[in-house]
């Protein structure tokens, strides 16, 4: 897989529909097949939104648990993956709100670190801080682009938005991060 290709592949629509139908009839194996296929991207999105492995695992688990119990409520004609991804996104947003006051966990700079390494850590810290100020839709679009390498069209489809809105979300998120990080770096350089 080349670095620019999407990381996950959609199930064939007919196959997915068959699995959903079986799962609705109580077939756990069918649901597990669905879960097994989409668990990784759901986990990766939850991680990108929470930056916490345990929380992301819990969210992925709960999202699929809810999907299993609420499969009847899945809108007719909608694909399974966007639906379960949306569940995970909502859970991640709720988690992030609960932990909004906590400082992000960032490794300390080694005492003998070079100036470049220190700058890298400072930039990462500033980026992590700035990420928390992004709106959920922007974070989701960013995660789907950066982590999953999805094209804008698919990001729009997953967010139920036109492609141009997906691009606008990505651009506004990136522009905002750039501005915040630059500002933070200038401040830290000024302080130093």
């Amino acid at each position: 897989m080349s670095p620019s290709e999407p990381r996950f592949i959609w199930l064939e629509e007919s196959e997915e529909k068959g699995l959903v139908r079986s799962a609705l009839q109580g077939n756990r194996q069918a649901f597990l097949a669905l879960a097994d296929h989409y668990l990784r991207p759901v986990y990766r999105l939850a991680y990108a939104l929470t930056r916490d492995r345990d929380a992301a695992a819990g969210i992925a688990r709960e999202a699929f648990g809810r999907a299993w119990f609420g499969l009847q409520g899945m809108p007719e004609g909608k694909r399974f993956f966007p639906w379960v991804l949306h569940l995970a996104r909502n859970l991640s947003v709720a988690h992030a709100r609960r932990h909004a006051g906590e400082a992000p966990v960032i490794a300390d700079v080694a005492a003998d670190a070079s100036a470049g390494e220190r700058a890298d850590v400072a930039m990462e810290r500033a980026t992590r801080e700035a990420l928390r100020a992004l709106r959920p839709d922007e974070q989701t679009a960013l995660a789907l682009r950066i982590v999953e390498r999805l094209p804008h069209e698919q990001i729009g489809a997953l967010l139920d938005q036109p492609t141009v809105i997906a691009l606008a979300r990505l651009a506004s998120a990136r522009g905002y991060l750039l501005q915040r990080v630059n500002s933070a770096m200038e401040k830290s350089e000024g302080a130093a």
Binding site: F31, Y43, F69, G73, P75, L167, S172, R174
Partner: protein, 342 residues
């Protein structure tokens, strides 16, 4: 020189531009130092984001995770008809989840009811206490009778206005921030709390424009019914040139908002243009200033459209959008840009 916009740069970075557009961007980047620098920063930022956002555990991790998904009894054997779907017969685990949900909703409703009752009690008690213990009026009116009458009134109908009348605050310059546009994403029907939480989170604008806040906030400053003209000296004229320029610009905006004349909006935009270079050291104030400028330009165009005003409004809206923080103000600017272009 017309620079490449941020969305264009992002689309180029993501390989989403058509070949002809990509070629134009490439050509511009080969000539423009400013844009190539911004592009390089975006690329570097993506590298950092990959480090922060991506996590790739081993395969065993996912196997354990998959095995731990809580699959109790299936919710139902068949997808029921819509009428049946409203009242599904849940399994044991499903019932537990349903009970949990009810328990979550129950106390919340109770808390809301209790809060409303407490608020009503406070208003009634407060009004009665205020009427009973307020200082004597300077007018020599028979005090006991007045108090009695007012107490009686307080018992029956709580007074609507507890505070002395104040001057109406001046009309806010900034357009009222409309509600977020309805999110088109279809929410799963059974998941409202997270949805509400998310909506609330979306309504919290991370970085507010300082300028807008300062215009709306100081009621005392604008308590006089006649607005302060743009150039007129204010009671406590600050010596700081930044504060002076800001005051001038805000006054001009206020005047424009009240007169709604295209020339006033032009004047306001010019005042903001003068103020912007002085705000370089404060990114938030700068963003706010850019927004005010874009708004004034747009309103001038909307009041009396001319090609020159349109050009100026598009340029200032783009300048604002380039660095604007996400939020309703940014969305509003996109709307202006859309209207200006069509």
């Amino acid at each position: 020189m017309i620079h490449v916009t941020l969305p264009q740069l992002c689309a180029y970075l993501d390989g989403e531009l058509a070949e002809s557009s990509a070629e134009l961007v490439r050509r511009h980047l080969s000539e423009c130092l400013e844009c190539i620098e911004r592009f390089a920063k975006l690329e570097a930022q993506d590298e950092i984001l990959i480090r922060i956002l991506a996590d790739d555990p081993q395969e065993e991790f996912f196997q354990c995770l998959s095995a731990s998904i809580p699959l109790g009894q299936p919710a139902s054997a068949e997808r029921p008809a819509p009428a049946e779907r409203e009242k599904p017969v849940p399994s044991h685990a499903g019932r537990r989840a349903e009970d949990k949900r009810r328990n979550r909703l129950g106390p919340r409703t109770a808390w809301i009811a209790a809060g409303i009752a407490a608020a009503i009690c406070c208003v009634v008690a407060g009004s009665a206490a205020w009427v009973a213990f307020r200082p004597a009026e300077p007018e020599p009116v028979a005090p006991p009778m007045v108090v009695e009458r007012q107490n009686a009134a307080a018992e029956t109908t709580p007074p609507v206005e507890m505070e002395p009348l104040r001057e109406q605050p001046p009309e806010p310059l900034a357009e009222p921030h409309s509600e977020q546009p309805p999110e088109p994403m279809a929410e799963p029907q059974h998941d409202p709390p997270e949805h509400h939480a998310e909506r609330a989170a979306q309504n919290v604008v991370p970085v507010r424009t300082v300028i807008t806040e300062t215009i709306v906030e100081p009621e005392a400053q604008h308590a006089a019914p006649v607005p302060v003209p743009p150039g007129a000296p204010l009671p406590s004229t600050p010596s700081d040139p930044v504060a002076l320029a800001l005051r001038d610009a805000k006054s001009a905006s206020l005047e424009a908002a009240q007169s709604k004349l295209p020339a006033s909006f032009d004047k306001s935009a010019e005042a903001w243009e003068r103020a912007l270079p002085l705000l370089e050291n404060s990114p938030e104030a700068l963003a706010g200033g850019r927004r005010e400028l874009a708004q004034s330009r747009f309103q001038a165009w909307a009041a009396e459209p001319t090609p020159a005003r349109r050009e100026a409004a598009i340029a200032s809206a783009r300048q604002y959008l380039l660095y604007a923080p996400p939020g309703p103000d940014r969305d509003q600017a996109w709307t202006w840009l859309g209207r200006l272009k069509h």
